[in-house]
Structures are given as C-alpha cells and as structure tokens.
Subunit: 707 residues, 2 copies
C-alpha cells in the first residue's frame, strides 16, 4: 500500500508529459495570417505581462507569509508553502501561454469547420488542465513522500497542509486580480464601445478590445486554473489532515495499519482520477461532423469516461485498501464508494441546478426576458430573486451530499471515533473523500473548462482580423458548446468547496486539540457568546468581500473608460475607422493591469489577516467565524454566480430574437442586467469559494500557534 504515493507521483508525471504533448500539438498548427498573428501576440503579451506583474506583487505577500510560517510554525512549512505557490504559478503561466497560442490557431482551423477547430481548442485547454493536475498532484506527492514517508519530520502534516495554503494564496489573488481585470476591461470596452461610440463588440477600432481578450485569459483561464489547482490540492489534503490531526484521538482504534490505510485512500482516488483523465482526454476527437450535438458528444465523452473509470477504480480501491484490514469493525468498504459516488451525483446535480437557473432553455431566464419589457429595474429584481432562489436549491443538494457522504463513511468506518465516542470521524472522512471524488478528474475537467475562453478568444480574433463571417459562426458554435460543458465542472467546484471546507474545519478543531496536547478542546457551542460573535463576523465578511470586489471592478472600469474616451478624442480618424489608424491597445492593457493589481490587495489580505487576528484573540470565536463565513459565503457565492449567469443568458436570449431582439428597449434593459451581473459572476462570486477555504486553511496551519 505504501506504493500508492509513488504511483500517484508517476501518474502526475504522465499528466505533465501529456500536457507537453498537447503543447507540441498546438504549436504545430498554423496561427493564420499576419494580422491574426499580430493579434494573438498582443493578447499573449498582455496576458503574460499581467501574470508577471501579478506574481511580483503576490510574491511579496508570499514571502511575508513564508517568514511568518517559518517563525511561528516550522521552517519546512515555509518551504512547502512556497512550493505550492510556485507550482500553482507555473501551471497558470504555462497553461495560459498555450491558451493564448491556441486562440488564433483555433480561428485558423475554424476555416475548415468546427470538426477541425474543436481539437485545437481542446488541446490548448488541456495543457492548462494537465499542467494544473500534474503539478498539483506531483508537488503534493513529493512533499508527502519526502516529509511524511522518508524523513518523518516533526509537524509533517502541518508541512503538507502548508502546501495547500501556498496554492490557496495564489488562487485567491489570481481569482480576485484576474476577476477584476477581466470585468474592468469588459465593462470598459462595452460601455464606451457599444454604448457611446456605437461600434460592435471586438471591433478593432476599440482600444480596449485587446484588453478585453486578455481579460478572458487572465480571468477565465489563469484564474480558473489557479482556482482548480487549489481546490484539487485542497481536496486531497483535507482527508489526510483530518486523519492526521485526529490521529491522537483515533490511534487506539485504528492502529498503524488503519492509520496508513486512511491516509492512502484519498491519494489512491487522486491517482485513479489522473489515469482516468488521461484516458478520457484521448477520447475527445473532432470527427468529421459539424453538427453541434456530435461536437457536444465528443467533449462529453472525455469527461464522462473519465468519471466512469474513476468510479470503478474507487470501488476497487476501497476494497483493496480497507477490505483486508481487520481494524475496522464493519469493514463495509463499499461505504466509502457510496460517499464518493454520492459526491459525484450531488456535484452533477449542482451543475444542473446552475444550468436550470442560468440557461435560456428553462423558465427562470425566460422570466427575466419577460421582465425586460418593463425595464431595467424589474430585470434586475428578477435576476436577484432567481439567484436567491437558486441558493435554496443548491443548499438542499449540499445537505443531501453531506448526508450521503457522512452515512457512507459511517458504514465503512463505524468505530472510528474520538476517545469519548462523541465524534464519528468515519462520517467526516466520508465527507472529505466525497470532495476528492468530485475533483479527481480535474485534468480533463479543467481542459474542457479552459477550452471555452479559447473558443471565445478565437471568435474575437476572427472579428478583429475581419475574417469571413462564416469563421465567426464556427467559433460561436464552439463557444456556446463550452458554456454547457462548463456547468458541470462548476457544480463540482462549488460542491467540493463546501465539502472540503467542512472537512478542513473539522481538521482545524482536531488540530487545536492536538496542538495543545489535549488541554484546549474547542468549545464551539453556538450558545457561547464568543462563538456567536464569531458567527456574526463570519456572516458579515463575505458581504464585505463582495462589496470590496464589486467596487474594485467599478473603479478599474472607470479608469479604462477614461482612457478609451481619451483615445477616441485624441487619435484622429480612430472612431471613423480610417485605414492605418490603430488604437493604443497596450496602454489599455497596462491600465487594466495596474488597476486590477492595486485593487486586489485589500480583499486578498482580508482573507488571511482576519482569521489570524481573531485566532490570536479567541480561538473559539475563530471557529464561529469560519462556520459563519462558510455557510453565508457559500450562499452568497451561489446567489452571485447564478444571478450573473441568468442575466448574461437573458441578454443572449433577447439578442437571439426574443422580446424584440437586439436594439429594442428590452435589449437595453437586458444589457443593464448583464452589466450588473458581470462582477457578480466573474469576480465576487468565484473568489468567494476560495475566500472560505483560504480562511479555513490559514486557521488550520496556524492552529498550533493559536493555543
């Protein structure tokens, strides 16, 4: 069984090799004519410049954190913290570089139809997918093998957890910074371009068009990649730290064999998932058909096969790892498979719920469409109420997921409990492995997710290079395909975030007890005033975080608007489209970069500073804070993501001809809804899930310092 981490490390290497293979495959495609190459390089330059600057800023923060960790926790924790941060940065940088190579190549391939273009876009995304999965798993396994298996250092599990904290730091800043960038550029480009100057989207005359396309990459590709790196690493770390920090409590029942089994199972799930992802990615083939159903099938085949293989592997692994140990009374190993599969189903259902509330095939978005007829106010109100309704549905699913996963864990490990028998660790373990089940196929899931913005960019390039409209039609088809496949991935990300945070929260509780040698047991009774105060603070934090990020987008967009207006005013012939007159796109890119990085600091620091301050004052309050922000932040994140998605698709629904179509008053109202939703769905909402996990994981890593 000790071989499992080595297997996982090898599978991670295989994933990285695949990423390299896809990179080469993308590279050898033609990027098209001179104009297209120019545009591609502009976008790439802008995106790289942003990431480099972002990493510079974040590295200051990371070094401060590393010093703090070295002094307060352990020097090795500082090391793994930096490793996690660096690997996440490398994955983001590599993935985005290839994504910005793949866009023009997808456009070029689209000239031959979607069957040719789809594989190019998918492979471009797959570099991100397998860089993220390979580096995240590889780095974690190196950390584990070195410090836990071989060196057996003190605080080995704090050191492993610090790896996750490093990944979380990058994810938080990437999501916040990238989210601000992409929406500032988007809003800035739209407001001046479409509304004031009356020129279409992605028009080459608009100085902010390049920045807008850069934004898609830094937000939807790099930000999403860092997010999934963090989620994936976090979901593997959660069950490990749960068991590790509870070991003082469980050693009696589990014994050494049992303890190792419990640590190995999540790593095994990750290993199987990686293998399955690699197989799945090979099943994505373009074929000859240009039919959208066939294309959709091609993409789905990859993810669905990967999940099918994972499920089979998990059942087999559960029996292999737990079947022959006699340390657990019941030994119903299938229980853990139930947890994992339950998690998968709930994650799938969460994705479908999001789709129901945000796709124009269903009633909610159609209702927003209807409300556009009475103007922007009713449009906004309807979107808000739909987003809020979706919270209730999503929370119901999360509760079902938690219930199933807990029950499954309890079946498999009924005797795994603390000494007093009051905490059923088996059930908690079930929750933790359910989260990793959802994310085990991160490699292929992120590939499909990153595919979307590549197709989107390809369309932008087609427009800016003034290619034949038929090319744009093909890229649009690929783009809309991306939106539906991404829904399930989002459901997994959201669902696993809640389960992982819950498991990490329990680890934090155990870590406090362990670190204090049993002197301090967290007293998290809600009835205690300090816990309740913590709950109050925790509920308020996500609101503050949302306010800060919404305002940040507003300020950054305002700077962008000023610049675009200035260029239209000062560059003669630009607005009229005089041949040879080109806008100063680089300046817009620079403004977006500066503004978004400046705005990233405060909300990002909040997530780290607040739990540390509260933790050093009163650790019971910190427990309340984490719980309060978990439940409120989860609700707020769902609300914002789905309200934003619903408005976006309501606008598209009207643009497709409903309620008067483009240019009608309904359309104007729908555009207002869409603009309100932009920072909701692409900045505040996605960053919220990371906020929750960063706060929990900071608390967990620093637990020993609090007591």
């Amino acid at each position: 069984m000790d071989v499992i981490p080595y297997l996982a490390a090898v599978s991670a290497l295989a994933g990285l090799a695949l990423a390299f293979f896809y990179y080469k495959a993308v590279e050898k495609e033609s990027p098209g004519n001179e104009r297209m190459v120019f545009l591609m390089e502009e976008i790439q330059k802008g995106a790289k410049a942003f990431l480099k600057k972002e990493y510079q800023w974040v590295s200051v923060f990371a070094v401060v954190m590393a010093i703090l960790l070295a002094v307060v926790i352990a020097p090795l924790a500082a090391l793994t913290y930096l490793l996690g941060a660096i690997l996440s940065s490398v994955a983001g940088y590599a993935g985005m570089t290839v994504a910005t190579m793949a866009n023009a190549r997808t456009t070029e391939a689209a000239k031959d139809g979607p069957g040719k273009a789809l594989p190019v876009a998918f492979r471009g995304g797959a570099v991100m997918g397998f860089s993220v999965a390979g580096l995240a798993l590889g780095g974690l396994m190196v950390t584990y093998i070195l410090f836990v298996t071989i060196l057996e250092v003190d605080d080995a599990f704090e050191v492993v957890t610090a790896y996750g904290l490093g990944a979380s730091t990058i994810a938080l800043f990437s999501r916040v910074g990238g989210g601000i960038y992409t929406k500032a550029a988007d809003v800035g480009a739209d407001l001046v371009g479409k509304v004031e100057a009356g020129i279409p989207e992605d028009d080459p005359r608009n100085p902010a068009t390049i920045a807008d396309n850069v934004g898609d990459n830094v937000g939807d590709v790099a930000g999403m990649g860092a997010d999934l790196f963090e989620s994936y690493a976090g979901s593997i770390i959660a069950p490990i730290s749960l068991i590790a920090f509870a070991s003082a409590l469980t050693a009696d029942q589990a014994g050494d064999v049992g303890f190792i089994s419990l640590l190995m199972f999540p790593i095994f799930v990750a290993f199987i998932g990686m293998i399955a992802s690699i197989i799945g990615s090979f099943l994505v083939k373009g074929g000859e058909s240009t039919d959208s159903k066939a294309l959709s099938k091609a993409l789905h085949l990859g993810t669905n096969s990967a999940m099918g293989i994972t499920v089979v592997g998990v059942v087999a692994g559960a029996y292999w790892i737990f079947g022959d140990t006699d340390v657990f009374a019941a030994g119903k190993a299938w229980g853990l498979a139930v947890s994992v599969i339950g998690g998968l189903i709930v994650g799938w259902a969460l994705g479908k719920t999001a789709e129901y509330y945000t796709s124009d095939h269903y009633q909610p978005v159609k209702n927003i469409g209807k409300q556009t007829e009475t103007g922007p106010a009713t449009t906004v109100l309807k979107g808000i109420s739909i987003g809020m309704q979706s919270v209730a549905a999503s929370v119901a699913l999360i509760i079902i997921g938690v219930g199933i996963a807990y029950w499954g864990g309890l079946q498999a490990l009924p005797d795994l409990a603390n000494e007093a028998g009051t905490i059923e660790i088996g059930g908690l373990y079930g929750i933790a492995v359910a989260a990793i089940g959802m994310l085990a196929t991160t490699g292929v899931v992120v590939s499909v997710d990153a595919y979307g913005p590549i197709a989107d960019n390809a369309g932008g390039i087609a427009e800016m290079a003034e290619l034949d409209p038929s090319v744009r039609e093909v890229t649009d088809a690929l783009d809309s395909l991306g939106n539906t496949t991404a829904a399930v991935a989002k459901g997994f990300a959201v669902g696993s975030a809640a389960l992982t945070a819950l498991a990490l929260f329990k680890s934090f509780e155990f870590a406090i007890t362990t670190a204090s040698g049993g002197d301090k047991v967290l007293d998290l009774d809600i009835g205690n005033v300090d816990v309740f105060i913590g709950l109050f603070i925790g509920a308020a934090l996500p609101f503050l975080f949302a306010a800060l990020t919404i305002d940040a987008v507003g300020r950054a967009a305002a700077e962008m608007i000023e610049e675009v207006r200035r260029q239209f005013r000062e560059i003669p012939g630009l607005r009229e489209g005089k041949p040879g007159v080109i806008p100063d796109s680089a300046r817009c890119v620079a403004i977006s970069t500066e503004a978004s990085l400046k705005e990233m600091i405060i909300p990002g620091a909040l997530a780290v500073v607040v739990p540390l301050v509260v933790g050093f004052i009163d650790v019971d309050s910190l427990g309340g804070l984490l719980a309060g922000s978990l439940v409120t932040g989860f609700a707020l994140a769902i609300f914002m993501a789905n309200a934003g998605g619903a408005w976006d698709n309501a606008k598209k629904y009207i643009e497709a001809g409903a309620h008067g179509g483009k240019g009608s008053d309904s359309h104007k109202a729908a555009v207002v809804g869409d603009t309100v939703g932009d920072p909701f769905k692409d900045t505040s909402g996605p960053a919220m899930n990371i906020l929750l996990k960063v706060m929990t994981i900071v608390s967990l890593v620093f637990a020993s310092a609090f007591v």
Copy 2:
C-alpha cells in the same frame, strides 16, 4: 417588588388613555375641504378594507396555530397566543384609523405653516405609538399577573412566551402583506404614471394614486406598528423566559428572592420607559417657528427626554431591585445599567450608521449619484456594494453591543451560571436587558415613526386636492424631517432584534434541557454534522424568503400595472385630465389588497413551518438553523434596507438638482436604482428581522414538544 407588574399595567393604562386623548385632539382638527375629505375617506376606506381582509386571512392561520398550541403545549398557551395576536391587531387597526384621519388634517393645518401641522401629524402618530406600547405591555402584564403571580399555573412561562408568539404572527404577516401592498402600489403607480403616461407623482388622474397612499398606511404605519408591538413584547419576554427556563439551572445560586428580582427588573425597565414616553410626548410642541432645525429639535426633544429619563430610572431600578439582595456575590448593580446604556448607545450608533450610508449628506449616496452618470448598471452596482459595506459596519456595532451588555451583566451577576459553571447566565441576561432598554421608549419612538407616513400622506392629499404649492412645500419639509428621526428608531429596532433573538435562542436551549428534565442537553457544537446542516439551512432561508417577497412584489405590481393601463385605455378623457372624469381607484385598491394577501401566505408560513419540521426531526439541527438564519438574515436585512435607502435618497439628491437633476439621464438611472431598492427596503428587509424572531420564538414555545 411584587408590585412592579401592577405598576407596569397601570402605566400601560395611562399610555392607552394618552392615545385616546390624542385621538380626540386629532379628531377635533378640521380635515379641510370637500375634496380633501373625500380623498381622506378613500384612503381610510382602502386601508381599513385591507386590514380587515388581512386579519381574516391571518385569523385562519392563528386559529390553526392556537389549536396546535392547545394540543401540543397547553390550552392556556393557545389563549395567550390569541390574546397577543388580537391586541396587536387592535393596536394596528386603531393606530391606522387615526393615522388616516390625521393626514388630511395635517394638510389643512399646513396651510398655517409647519408649526401648526407638526403637532397634528405627531399626535396622529402618537395614537399608534401609545396604542402599541399600551396594549403590548398591558396585555403582557395581565398575562403575567394572572398566570404567573396569581394562578401559578403549570407551564406558566410557556404561556407568557406564547403571548409573544401571537404578536410575532401578526407582525410577520403585517410586515410581509403590508410590505407587498405598499410596493406593488408604489411601483405600479410610478411605472405607468410617471414613466408611461408622463404624469407627476400623486396626480389625481392616476388610478393607482389612492392605492399608493393606502400602501403608505398599511405598510409604514400598520406594518411598522405590528413590528414594534412584537419587538417590544419580545424584548420584555426574552429576559423573563431566559431566567424562567434557566431556573432549573440557576435555582441553587439565585434562590427565590434572586429569581424574582431577575424577573422583575425587565418589567421595571418597561414601566420606566412607558412613563418616560408619556412625559416625552408632552414635550413635543409645534411652537411658532417654521425653521426646520427648530422643528427637528421639537421632535427630538420628545425622544431624547424619554431616553434620558429611562436611563436614570434604570440605574435607580437596578440598585433598588438588586442592591439589597445578597444572593449575588458582587452585587454591582450598576453592571445592568451598563448593559442597558450600552444597548442604547449601540442602537443609536446603528441608526447613525444607517443614516451615514443612506443620507445624501454623506459620501456613499453621493457616490451613487456619481455612478448614475454611467447609467443604471453602475448605479445598481454601487448601491449593492454600499449596502454590503454597511453590513460590516453594523455587525461590528452589534458585536460591540453584545460585548458590553454581556460584560455588564457579568459584573452585576457574576455567580449566576448553570450548575457546571460553563454558562454565564448573568452575561446573557445583560444582553437581554440591553434589548429592552432600546425599546422601553417604544411609545414615543413609534409616535415619531408613524408621524412620517402621515406627513407623506398629507403631501399626497395636497397634490391630489390641487392645493396651493406652498402647502406641499410645508408637508415636504415635515416629511423629510420624519426620515431623519426615523433613522434612530430603525437602529433600535434592528439592534434590539439581534439581541432579543440571541437571548431567545439561549432560552430555547435552556427550554430543551428543562423540558426533557435534563435528559437532553442541546449539543450545538458547530463541528457536529447535524448542527452544521442546520447552519446551512439557516443561511439559505433568508435568501429564499427575500426571493419570495421580491417576486411577490413583482407579481402584485404587474397586476396593478395592467389595471392602470386598462383604465387609461378604456376611460375616455382620463389621461387628458378632462374635468369630471375620475379614475376607478377602488378597483386598484382591491387589486393590491387581493394580490398582496395572496402573496403573503407562503413566505409567512415558511417562518413557522420550517422550524417546526426541523425541530421534530432533529432538535440540534434546529439550533444550527436558528443561529445560521440569525446571522445571515441579520446581514441580509441590513444589506437590503441600506441599499434600498441609499438608492432612494440618491434619486432625491438628483431630483434636488445634482448631476443634471430631474429628467436627465442620471435621473433615469437613479429611478432604476430606487425601483430596485423599493422591495429591498420596504418589503424583504423589514420583514427579515421578524422572520428571525418568529422562527426563534416558535422553537422556544414548542421546545417541550420536540424532546
């Protein structure tokens, strides 16, 4: 000391006598010319018709609840439940009847300037204020004296608490139903009138104008009155039930004398507050000056004096009641005065915070004004982020308030704890009495609060009766005065809601232990999965509730819009203002009434059914649910109230001439913000606080049935 409830009952009677006196004073004023009398009577007829229908619908619900209480808890609890419900209804009906008499009389008095009109409007409001305070306190004291002091019945404190539940039921439905009514009429009148037909607000040609004015009364007067009736009764019941249900735990330390002292102190605070309110109300005098500062002083003098007297009385009372008992080790009676005064200061600061975020004298609203220049989307986003920021500030204040009140209680009653010594009941008691401190002067506070809509209505009548514009100017001055004085009252209502709910939550915990004879101690450790599931449900419920109420307003407004359009279409000469052609206002009133009552059912029932269902399944989950909904609902309520208020005043700020003034594009954007904010601030937001308390008090009353 046993005389205190009798004193309180007598003071309540005095309050009722004062209400009658003010009613007579209002009645003898002239209601103006024929047209004004007609309008007044139409509004009154509409408002009364609404309340009657509402009470009919609610009585069905109340009877079902009463039967449930009689069967599951105790027949006497059903009786006091109905008493609380009936008295709240009577107070609402009486107060609103006089408010709808005072409007035209204020208009008429306004012809002689604000110095004449202010007392009329204030007295009209004071009938509501002292009806609410007098009936709430009187009914509660009768209940207490009869069942606790004289008959000493079994379950005496469940019976007392059921009185609060009756009041809560009426408050919830009044706030929800009234809130839907007022906004449906307002939005309906505005959208068709101002936007489509291009006629000004309160124009007599608009068929929905009367309904709009009725809405001000049923929402802002009757709804607010029922809300404060509930809050006031609840805040007195909270410390009593805390001590009563903890008595099994505290009997050892407190003994009989101490037990009675603890029960008497909150009643004493209510008694002093009533006397202080009566004195304060006499200090509100119009004077001869028409200067707005002088007017503002006149109103403030009443409330400030009442609070000053209460503070002095509380200090004296604390020493009187606790000074000579030797059952508490420290006997630092001043500690409880600290709790009460701390509560008052925090309540005041909460009001000021709300004012800061919603008044156009400060930066936030000015910033919204600036954002109107880039259109409705940025206007909406800015309002949302301001509302969310205000959550952080308000929660910080609540935490300070909880901290001070807890500390004060602990100083006074350091040895009051459960047997294990783990629960410091003295601190919790401090929290509970801080809430009653904020609401002790309900009589005069509600008077000032109800004054606002009367002044608002007076302006509407001036407009509809086509009086000289100078009259409207006077009523506008009175109206804007009402807005600032109401801010402090709102702070008290919000702050006390949080503290009361917290105290009731603790009572619920004790009630479970007591009811089970100590067998079942709630295990509310957040780390337990069932508690965490409860937290999740609790966090989702306020979002669902907000969604339902926002949608309800939307649907009701849509029906209204249809009707107004129909009348403009089918009644010849109406739009053009042909003399003698009048709209069918009664039909609009009927539509608003039907629609809002229909829409009230589901959100209202949710608040009662969900805790009952969860409680019978798993009472620990119910604990989590109550805590989760308390913190999330509090945050959401603050967000919605302040965002809505900020948009409202941003619109007024622009109408006063900023950013292009009325008719500009900025103004259009501001109107969108205001319309989005309407259901936020007048429907969902205000109802949220009651939702939280209803759920807690339902759980408390049914605690013995859950175990």
